[in-house]
Each structure stands twice: as structure tokens, then as C-alpha cells.
Subunit: 262 residues, 4 copies
């Protein structure tokens, strides 16, 4: 078996100077939330399914009893308009589960997208602040100074100190290995607490991305999801307050729900 198997879903038509957008699971699931939402809103069409021995040996069972193997998925949005550029969106269940897997998956997927004409890549991620962030900023990192400047104009914050340890995982490697393919790009990181999934941070990221891609996205559903998380977080907070006053008196904490809402 090949290390990475890329199965085209259908014949792929020539793309118009496509931009790749990557959003896989990670901190606060911000990148995945944003990429999946973008795909839904733009009604992007499936292009290819990616299987790999670098994913867990796992199969999901759908509600109807049918199965699907864990995978990444590449979709395409082909906007109308003579000068419009196509958008490739990469989402999925997992990043590679070993360092070597991370490198190999990123390389193979970039190679495939490069073959489809992609020369530009945006990676979406969360940036863990360790505390609740009311109005998340979007931090950035880019492959060139020109891009740093362009994104600064869109409100992206380039900090001298953050992220101090650099970018770990797919969001970093798609830029770094992208350079080996002469691709340019940037990483958009939404601030988040890092404690639970964060649709509000994903919103912040998508606002910037929409301007960069010149597409329009209705963020209402994502806002609804963010408010749902807010309500649960509030409930957790109350339960914990209560528990502090009378230990053992409160209901079992619903904290663990938070991790699974997506």
C-alpha cells in the first residue's frame, strides 16, 4: 500500500489559478471548523479522498450503519466570474499521527494540488492563549514580507513574539513544504482559550479569509454554534461555582460535552 493514497472522486476539470485552503483538526478545532464551514457555505464539490497509513487504523460508522475509513478530503469551489480564482479546500478527520506521517502527507497533498495548478496556500489554525478570549484576534505568519504587509491591511496581527515556538503540525508544514514547491502562503491563527472547540475563533479567521479570497460567506450558522458553546461554558462555570460552595451537591459537570461539539 502506498503511504498516502489520493483517490480522485471524479475527473477534475482544469482549475483557474486555484488557492489551497487547509483546515485540519488542531487547537480548539479552529482550523477544521473554519474549513468545513467554508466548504459548506461555498457548496464546494468533492475532488479527492485521501487515505493513509499515517492515519489511525480506524473506520467510522455513519448513523445509517454504513462505514467510511478515516480520511482527508479535498473539495473545490468554482466561483462564477471571468477573473475568479478557484478555491481548493482540504479538511478531514486527522492530521498524520507521527512526525514522519505529517511530512509525508503534507508533501503528497501539496504535490497533488501543485499538479492541479495551486501556487498559493492558506492554512487555518487556532492559537491557544490559555485563557478565555472575548474578541479573538487573528495572528498571522507568512512566506514573504509582501504577504505580511498585505495581510496586516486585512487586520491580521503579526506579533514579534507569538507564536514563540513556531507552528507545529499541518498548518506550519503546508507553508514550509509549500516553499519547496515554490508556493506562497500564510497561516491564519484565531486566538482561542485552547480548552474547547471555538466557533467564534473560527469566525474571526473566516472573516479575514473571505476578504483575502474575495468570497462572501454568511457567518450566521457559525455564530449560532458559538452561542451554543457560550451557553454550555456558562453552565459549566455555574456548576463549578456551585460545587465550590457545596462540594458534591451539583449535578455531574457537562464539561466534557464541550470537546465534542463541532
Amino acid at each position: 500500500m502506498e503511504d498516502v493514497v489520493i483517490r480522485p472522486v471524479a475527473k477534475i476539470p482544469p482549475l483557474r489559478d486555484p488557492i489551497l485552503v487547509e483546515g485540519l483538526p488542531g487547537v480548539g478545532n479552529v482550523g477544521k471548523l473554519a474549513a468545513d464551514y467554508l466548504k459548506d457555505q461555498l457548496h464546494a464539490e468533492p475532488v479527492a479522498t485521501i487515505y493513509s497509513r499515517f492515519f489511525p487504523p480506524q473506520v467510522y460508522v455513519n448513523e445509517d450503519g454504513t462505514i467510511r475509513m478515516v480520511s482527508n478530503e479535498l473539495s473545490v469551489h468554482r466561483p462564477k466570474g471571468e477573473k475568479a480564482r478557484d478555491v481548493l479546500i482540504l479538511g478531514g478527520d486527522y492530521q498524520g499521527i507521527s512526525p514522519e506521517g505529517q511530512y509525508e502527507l503534507t508533501h503528497r497533498i501539496l504535490e497533488f494540488c501543485h499538479g492541479l495548478g495551486a501556487r498559493e496556500v492558506y492554512t487555518l489554525a487556532g492559537f491557544a492563549q490559555g485563557h478565555v478570549v472575548e474578541e479573538p484576534k487573528v495572528l498571522g505568519a507568512a512566506t514573504s514580507l509582501a504577504r505580511v504587509e498585505a495581510l496586516t491591511k486585512l487586520g491580521v496581527v503579526f506579533s514579534r513574539t507569538d507564536p514563540g515556538g513556531g507552528l507545529i503540525g499541518a498548518s506550519g508544514l503546508f507553508l514550509g513544504i509549500g516553499r519547496l514547491f515554490d508556493m506562497e502562503g500564510a497561516c491564519l491563527m484565531g486566538e482561542t482559550s485552547g480548552y474547547f472547540v471555538d466557533p467564534r475563533s473560527a469566525q474571526a479567521v473566516l472573516k479575514v479569509l473571505a476578504r483575502a479570497l474575495r468570497v462572501e460567506i454568511d457567518l450566521a450558522d457559525l455564530e449560532a454554534k458559538a452561542q451554543e458553546i457560550d451557553r454550555i461554558a456558562q453552565r459549566v462555570h455555574e456548576v463549578e461555582q456551585h460545587a465550590g460552595e457545596a462540594p458534591g451537591a451539583g449535578p455531574t459537570t457537562p464539561r466534557e460535552d464541550l470537546g465534542y461539539i463541532g
Copy 2:
């Protein structure tokens, strides 16, 4: 050395639309118990031995002092009757001991079986409920809705919520990677506590499988084994009760016997 070495035991005659049945060690050893019992009852003949660097570096010593390397084994049952279909049974000592090994072993074995004409696969497994199950149900997952419906008629339960985390390991991958070979199939999971080997759960799985394969299997020996486990479990229970009343007074607990009865 190749990652996976498949050694045919003898020249394999053309098979008649064979169905592959996989049962390797796992939760409650249900899958392995069922596959090994099926092989014995059907007097299936060895077809190939599978060695791999993805198994532990281990050799077993038989009672007569001779050795054999850990392996998986493929056997074939060739029933009489003009329209009968052959059954390939995969059993063995281990699943692959790394995620990559799981993928590679599954892929190579499926490739081999596909070469023998197999287009259909059943995987057998246990489903850990975390508590004793008096009358184990058989849960299912399948590659198509048509199969979900067909198996529902045989008494298989397709739950909206179980297994929530999907299928981990060989029982899932043989279906998932099977799809890459255009194979159809289903996983049959016997409910089990997850605490010890469970011949009763294996019985439940075999009852369904026998109907699906249209073969007849005498389950008497498996029932005897189940009753033996029942007796040991009962003894463990009594010892623990006793220990609760007068700590340290009981004999050493026989609990550890439970894991080794197969």
C-alpha cells in the same frame, strides 16, 4: 525482508466466488474465538501463512518442543454443492502492532484474497459494554445500505450511536481498505463485557454468520467453553465477595485464569 510475507501452503485451486471471514485477537477475543471455531467446525484447509515485521519478534514453542513463528493464517472451506461458495478464513496470533502495520497487513492480505477472487468480507469482533452481558446481541456495520437491511433481517442490530468511536483495528480496516478493492462486507460485533475472553459472545456472532454464509455449525463445543468461563467467573465473584467480608482470608484469586482460556 518484505514487510509482509505471504507463503502459500500448497497450490491453491480456483475458488468459487469466495467470501473472506476475518477474526483476529481483540476485545474479548470474540473475533478470534469465532474464526478459529468456524475453521475447526468446517475442517477448513490451510491455504497460506502470513509472517510480518509488523508482528512482535516472537516464536512460539509447541508442546513437543518444536517452534513456529507468530503468524496469521488463511484457510479455505470448500463446501459441496453446485452453487456453493467457498469461504476463506483468516485467523492468527496478532494484529499488526503499529498503525502503519495494521494498514499494510490488511492491504496485503486483501490484495492476496482479491487475487483469489474474494469480493466479499465479513469481519468478526467483540464490542465492549463494560458490564456483564447475559444475552449478547450482535451489532453491525456494513459497506452499503443494502447490506445493513439484509443483516437487520438476520437479527443484527444497527445502532445510531454504537460504536460511537468507530471500529479500531483489523475489523474496521478490512472493510475500509476492502472498499479500495471494490469489496463489499460487514462487521459483526458480539456484545461482551470486555473483561475476559467471551465464547458466548462468539456464539452469538457465529449464529448470524452461519446464516449469512449459509453453512451449518454445531455450537456445542463453544457452549461448553462458555460454561467453563461462567464457572470461573462465578468462582472469582465468590472469592471477591468473601474477600470483602474477611480480607486476606480467601484463596488467591483465579481471576487471571480468565484471560488465557481460549
Copy 3:
């Protein structure tokens, strides 16, 4: 770099039906002690050095300040006499440090030795009893019943129950993978406590091996080493006794010396 690099030390002359003897580090270091002693006593000549990415990334520094990379080493004993058979001896610093490495190293070394004409292999090991063994027996496992019988006549014990978990590591794999090369052989396991290096167990193994190989070995130096270990073990015992009577009163225990005497 190849996974396993086998560097011939000099041009190897045609060998006369050579027998391979493997003794690498393991339980009580019995196998390595025996193989190294055999090599010294028979004045075996170096044949090849084996380097591998499956060994630790480590270089030893000799007493004179020069370095050598961790390796395995193959030597040859070419006895006089018309009908004499040559003996290849494999020793070294490490076994492969991952399961995959174990398989690959064993396969490559067997392939090389098979190319030199070896069709028979003895593996030497310790068998941990968990308690001090005054007069260690030699347990066996073999590739055929004929060999079991022949070795029984030499005093080797073939137990129905030991080793219950089989043979783990090189001593098992050289037999198991040896079968894939149509090689026959046996594993000789000296009983040992498992707590420290055991020259006495190595002696027991060598006595059997010498008869099997029809060579003569003077075991005096190994006996001297065994008595040295006995003295240290005795001292440890006294210190611990003393410490039991007056905790903290004894000198620091010399137990850790035991692991490094070879």
C-alpha cells in the same frame, strides 16, 4: 543508507557446511557471554561487521581514545580435519531496538550466512527463572522433532510448559526466519535468575553446544568469572542482611556492579 550494512572484513574463503551460532545480549547476557567465550576459545576470525539504523545511534570509545560504532560481528572458526564443519559465530553490542528492526536484522544476517552456505543455526539465550539457580539446566526449542530427540540425548530439557510465552527477540527469530530459508536449528536456553549476568548459565549452555558442534572448549576462564559473580552476589546478600537488621547502617550496596560484569 541501507537498513542493514554488512561489511566483509576480508575475502571469505568457501566454507565447509558451516553452522551458525548466535549469541546477542539478552536475559542474564547468557547468549552473549557464551558466544563471545566460544569465539575467544576457538580463536575465530572476523568475517564481517554489521551496522544498522536499527541499533542505537551510538559510538563506543575504546580505552585508547579511538571510537567504534555499535555493531554486530560475524566470525568464523575453521577447524582442522577433513570432515570438520566450519562454525560462524554472531555476537555484538545490541539486538535491533524495534520489532521491525529485529525482523530486518535477522533476515539480512541469515540471508548473508545462507549465502555462505549455512543451513543450520544454534541460538543461545538465558531463561529467567526469577530465583537463583544453583545448577542451571539447559532448556531447548528446535525446528524439528528429530532435533528435539537428538538434543534430549545431549541433556537438553524440552519442557511442555517452558517457555510459555515463547522466545522473544533474536534467539527466536533466527530459528523462525531461518525456516523461511529452509534452515534447521535449535535454541539453547540456560536457566538463570534473570537478575544479573550469569557466566555459570553460559557454561551450561556451552557444554551442550560443544558436544553438538563436536568442538572442545576449556571452560576455566568462564568458571573464574562465575566465581567472581558468586562473590559479589554473596557480598550483596550480606549487605542486605545487615541492612535488614540495622537500616541505613550498611555501606552502599554493590548490587549495581553485578549488571556490568561480563
Copy 4:
């Protein structure tokens, strides 16, 4: 993706009998400090960038917001003078993060440097003494007795007992695998406590290396860095003294600063 990607930065002119100097992160960061300082002082020019799936999947963000993937880097110093030899300097962010990665990276880099004409290699490292060392000595290990003697004259200490466990990682492998390329060389190990980065130990190493390479290096900046570390270590010491007298009274300890000063 290749396991190791070596990207030449520019066309490399023929080198004059170049000597390779390796200094990667390790004990006290001594090797990396020394190699980086050497590169700066000699104004060595970049030759090649090395990426690998054996590094962490990580990208650094520069202060200006641009990114670079973790890498090793090879630079060259081409001194004037008819008989002068060129010096290749290998530095970088990481050593390989697995044993196999260590072997493969070392092999590929040596192969590349061998292709550039390198037949001699110095590796730089720290040797952890477990206590503060006021005037660090430089311990050595070499590929030949002649080199041991030559370096002894330069003040290098070859100890019968240190390093007892040998050399682990790149500093050992570049010598050991270097031998497979018929390269000669030595490892220079500066004594260090092992508790924090140690520019003073790096100074000691560079003094020896400068004489061996016949280059001149101004060590003033490294001395300044060493004094900065001394001041911080002194402060840590005072804080801990104080904390001992009145627990909880002192400011939060600045100990963790020590690890990050380079």
C-alpha cells in the same frame, strides 16, 4: 518526499580539501553554540539547507512574521592563502528525532559532504559532569591513534573511563558513519554541568578547534554570553538560598530562563 532533502543554496565551487565541523543541539548546547559562533566569526557562506521528515513537523516564525521550516544548514568558510583548507560548518535546529532518523540524516549529510571532497570531520559536543565546572576541560575521542596523539598535544584529554557510555547522537555517528566513507576525525567534548546552556564550555571547545583548523577566532562575544549566564546562575542561586530561609518569600525563580539563552 525523500527522507532527507538537501537543497543547495547556490552553485558550490570546488572546495580545497575541506574539513567538516558538526555542531548540533545537545548537552548544554555546547556543540551548537560553538558551531554557530564559528560560522559567524568566519563569515561562512550558506551552502545548502537540509530538511527532513526526521525533524519535528515544525515551522519557525521570524520576528518579521515570515516563516522558515526547521532545518540543518551547511556553510562554508573559504580562507585566503595558497595552502589554506576550506571549512564546512554544519549547524541547525535539531538532530534527528528517532534513532533511524539519526542514522539516515548523518549518512545523507556525510555523503553530500564527501561529494564536496570532505575527508575529515570534527564533531563538537558537551560532556555532562553533573556539577558546575569552573574551568572546563575538553575531552576527546578520535578515529585513529595518530589523531589521539595529535589532539593530546593541543590539550585535549583522552580519558580511559569517560565517556563511559560512549557518544550518543550526531557527534558520535558523524565519526562512526564517517569511517564507512573512509573519513577520519575526532569529537571534542567540552565539560559542562549539563543543567543549562554553556558558552564557557563552547569557548573551551573552540580554542582547541581553532588550533586544529589553524584559524583565528575572537572569543570576546562568547565570553560576554558566558558572563551573562554566570549572572543569571548567580541570581538563581541567591533566590534558592533565600527560599530555603523563608519558603515562599522569594520572587518566582528565574531558573527557567537559563535554558533559553543561546
